[in-house]
Amino acid sequence: MSQSDSLGLPQVAACLLVGYFVFRWFFKSSDPSIVSPTRSPVVDQRRLQEQSLLLTGMFPQVSMAAAQAELIRNGGNIEIATEKILAAGGLPEPPAPVAAPLNSSTARPAPAAAARRTATHNPSGASSSRAVGYQDLITRYNLHSRLHEGDSSSSSTPSGRGKSPQTRSDRQLAHQNKRDEMILAARRRMEEMDQKQAAAKGQA
């Protein structure tokens, strides 16, 4: 009996499977260098991502970009980065061009979401003057037009309390209504308070 006779289907299948995984592993490990040939091969993108997540988890005051920049600088040494943060109380922000391609989209969901919303609800792009700071709620949810329509509108919109919307869009609508009403009510209250204060000042 030679060996080839005993080579049955399971063995062949196993060989193919192992071969496939070796092939995949090869491709995967060489992939990042193909995508970014300019970056130093020592720093693996995924590792970098994980390490910077770990760092920002430990030190929320450190931004993702700053953590990544520091890790690239010191060759991916998390201990050095940690010591540096502990000693200095933070990390310097990297210059913008370094940060931009490294910044993962998942790291900062909030501004991205806010930007997406203004892009859809506010196509004219009316307010980009305060791009650095936070957008106020009226601008963010495009409520300027509803500011002066009075309290009567709130009774016509469903309160969302007591009944449960069944479909996805109903739920979205109910949530948005509740959110917008809350913001508008607060804003009206605040403006009323301002007026009362102004009136009191005028009398005095």
């Binding site: 929320p60 005051q61 709620l137 009226i138 309390r161 007591g162 949530h175 809350m182």
Partner: protein
């Protein structure tokens, strides 16, 4: 497996919150196609400098929710001893039972699967009213809160007004 469980649980909490939520709280997914990213609003508690304000935040849930807690981040300017300058909220209910960064929290105060979005938001609301001096996240705010309460209240009120588009 846990991903599906997380999805189910988040949808359940979302529906429950829509049906009936405590006064001063609104929360839901930014877009229901992704149940792991929520936006929420918290009304400033009465008889505090936050009163009258409405403060927006995002909740980012881990794929293994509710085993692990979400991360909460205010998306408006905040001046509070337990909120980092980037808006991240530091409160015991958002710390998983395993990690105790400050070594002072009671296990019962920390996250467990029986907690919920509603409980988080209520806890954050009471945190706004009563800052926890032991876990300073914003050192400036802690210091001013301790030493100069008038100035602290002034700064908080300014944040509340700015969030509502009043300057």
């Amino acid at each position: 497996m846990s991903f599906a469980a997380a999805n189910k649980r988040l949808l359940k909490e979302y529906k429950a919150l829509l049906k009936e939520s405590p006064e001063g709280i609104a929360a839901g997914p930014i877009d229901e196609s992704n149940l792991f990213e929520w936006e929420c609003l918290i009304q400033g508690p009465e008889e505090t400098p936050f009163e009258g304000g409405v403060f927006p935040a995002t909740l980012s849930f881990p794929k293994d929710y509710p085993l692990n807690p979400p991360k909460m981040k205010f998306t408006c300017e905040m001046f509070h001893p337990n909120v980092y300058k980037d808006g991240t909220v530091c409160i015991s209910i958002l710390h998983s039972p395993g990690d105790d960064p400050n070594q002072y929290e009671d296990a019962s105060e920390r996250w467990s699967p029986i907690q919920s979005v509603e409980k988080i938001l209520i806890s954050v609301m009471s945190m706004l009213a009563e800052p926890n001096d032991e876990s300073g996240a914003n050192i400036d705010a802690s210091k001013i809160w301790r030493d100069d309460r008038k100035e602290y209240e002034k700064r908080v009120r300014a944040c509340a007004r700015r969030a509502l588009g009043l300057f």
